[in-house]
Amino acid sequence: MAEFTASVYQNEFLPDGGTDVHAIVTVSCSGAGSAGQSGSGDAGEIIIVDTSGSMGAEGVRAAAFAAQTALDQILDGVWFAVISGNDRAQLAFPPSPEPVMVKMDQFTRQAAKDAVARFYADGGTAMGTWLRLASRVFATVPSLTQKHALLLTDGENQHESPEVLTQTIQAVTGQFQCDCRGVGVAWQVNEVRRIATALLGTVDIIPAPDQLAAEFAKIIQNAMSKGVAQADMRVWAPQGAQVLFVRQVAPTVDDLTARRTEVNALTGAYPTGSWGDESRDYHVAIRLAAKGIGQEQLAARVQLALGDQVVAQGLVRALWSEDEALTTRISPEVAHYTGQTELADAIQEGLAAKAAGDTATATTKLGRAVQLAAQTGNEEATTRLRKVVDIDDQDNGTVRLKRTVEKADEMALDTASTKTTRVKK
């Protein structure tokens, strides 16, 4: 049985008249088990592979091999299907004109591998059609409580307008989770990130086709290790208070604020997807009506809920004090993740400015990113930034844009921008 714990890191002391309370809440899960084994419903997995013409014969062969590797990682008893996508979506397995899924066993696994081997490159790219088909396929198995998809693309979403893609993303949000990968350098990070973020998944670049299989295996293994089908983060704030934001800040930055659904007038729920044995950090900010010196009150109850059941709770407190030694202290956890969030923004804004030819803004933003990465000890980010800028002064954020940059390095910096380092506790 999965067990959850929640720990709160904050400076609860507010100065006279202070209203804003910030806290980092670490939620940890242990004993999660594996997908579909927890007894609370079945797990489903759909592999979506880009078979557009741009993939070419070699790309499709690599993708097919990667899909076969992924099929090997899906646990027996898990419902699954394979979709091949170009400017329209096709159910590659099970072979059926209507949406359908089957349970994994040695025979269906082999049949699926055979079907995948028949992939060929043809047509354009319309990812919205792939997502819609995946949603319909998942819907055919009512017992599914855990629905995960792996989506691979290699190019821009040329055969579908951005508006249509947006509508599709909205329509399928909450239906299933989706980890997205782009192979090569012809795809748009922003476009794919929109899908992954809405569908509570990750986005990353796979620079070369021969790296596909290893990445696919890792993603499916990870999905299969999520024994808790889905959990909600709940945030209670007192009457009259305002929830300024709720962000996941580790392992990646993900703003949950707009995903709130109401549990009751004082409590909002934010979907967090499935959980394995892992730990995630959340940054919660609440604005309260100021109380008198010496008064204490609860600023938030931060809970993790499985369905209607609250399985862990952390309390965020507020205590007004006139002792400046207490009220001016900044929680190291809050400071660390505030810096990491700004780092993600600085990288994305810097790269966007660079792409738009605004060298001055790009230099400033990426310089700030270098400075923040150093301050928060995010060495991975520093390494990636070094491939895009020459660093003159790390502490002051003085950088110059490199004359020539590998497109893949730039995309890797972009896709990894939301990855954070944990604060040392």
Partner: protein, 353 residues
């Protein structure tokens, strides 16, 4: 959530079990709880001897939120407005007989209630009443635990004793004074018992006790908690003189208001505790003629009304507004002090004679 067997270290507040001799967290030596003198857990200990008629719910279920009336969650905060639920130690009242009552409150500015009160009375109105108030010194550790233990120990000594001397007026007085001395000794022992031996900042508190027996009223004081007699048809009497820097200034001719608002106003010159030079109470006695109010209180109240005459007026008016009920009157006086700012813990004990 809170186990009744769980206690906290009196030195650092860390968790300890009853079998521990030393605190795991800070290493302080722990006084074993002996039968008859149970350790006080200020988080969970219900106030003793709650008057059965007092308007309070079952002790286990924390009442509605004092701020908005909402339900209190198991986590100790209101489910609606988030206000922290009051701990029993933060606000409690006693009413051993209908004519005697006391209210002890954390106030507004302080984070814990280091005031304490313990009272006793015979049922017959005006017969026998014992009021003890101890105000923990907030610059020392564990003063909230020590002050409550001290007040209760003193009250128990006063309650047990009934020596009348040879029955003459002067021998009755000296018998009561001897009891007050013994009560102060017991209170001092209780403070020491709740001070960890190597505490860098030993617990300490003030002490004021009044003994009313028939027409004899004796008050004893160590520190700056006070006793007053407010007769209905005569001038109000301050029964005690503070052991404080301010009182010494007043004795040299400095006006009371100036002395009591100066920078050293709250420095006391005598107290109960490990580092106290002397804790023999200074006593005064008087004969009670006619009806009136006997009050013992901490500086949380008199800070806002120090002179005997205006405090008597305030008490009489407040009593009149509450039908002369001692508990309602004491409670209203605490509310009044909170309305003035509640800068300190507030204790008011009253006997209607």
């Amino acid at each position: 959530m809170t186990s009744t067997t769980k206690t906290v270290c009196p030195s650092c507040g860390g968790p300890i079990s009853e079998a521990d001799r030393f605190c795991e967290t800070c290493g302080a030596e722990l006084t074993p709880a002996t039968p008859g003198t149970p350790a006080l857990d200020t988080d969970t200990e219900p106030t003793i001897e709650l008057h059965p008629g007092a308007a309070r719910g079952a002790e286990a279920a924390p009442g509605p939120c004092r701020s908005c009336g909402g339900a209190i969650s198991a986590d100790g905060y209101c489910e609606n407005c988030g206000t922290k639920a009051t701990k029993p130690r933060d606000h409690f009242s006693e009413q051993p007989a209908p004519w005697v009552a006391a209210v002890c409150d954390r106030g507004i500015r302080h984070s814990r209630n280091e005031d304490a009160v313990a009272i006793a009375a015979d049922p017959e109105p005006g017969s026998r009443a014992l009021l003890v108030v101890c105000d923990g010194v907030s610059s020392s550790l564990d003063s909230d635990v020590a002050s409550l233990a001290a007040a209760r120990a003193a009250r128990d000594v006063l309650e047990a004793g009934n020596a009348q001397g040879m029955g003459t007026e002067s021998s009755r007085i000296s018998a009561v004074v001897a009891r007050l001395n013994a009560a102060a000794d017991a209170a001092s022992d209780a403070v020491l018992a709740n001070t960890s031996p190597d505490s860098p900042n030993p617990a300490s508190c003030t002490f004021v006790a009044t003994v009313l027996e028939g027409d004899l009223l004796v008050a004893g004081v160590v520190g700056d908690s006070r006793a007053y007699w407010f007769p209905d048809n005569a001038e109000a009497v301050a029964l005690t003189v503070d052991d404080s820097w301010a009182a010494e200034l007043i004795a040299t001719g400095v006006p009371r208001h100036e002395a009591e608002t100066g920078p050293q106003a709250h420095a006391i010159t005598r107290w109960l505790g490990k580092d106290a030079p002397d804790h023999t109470p200074r006593t005064t006695s008087m004969k009670v003629v006619g009806p009136g109010w006997l009050m013992a209180c901490s500086d949380g109240l008199w800070n806002y009304c120090s002179e005997a005459a205006p405090l008597a007026d305030l008490t009489r008016q407040t009593a009149a507004a509450h039908g002369g009920d001692p508990l309602a009157t004491a409670s209203a006086l605490v509310d009044w002090a909170n309305a003035q700012g509640g800068q300190d813990n507030i204790t008011v004990a009253l006997a209607r004679i």
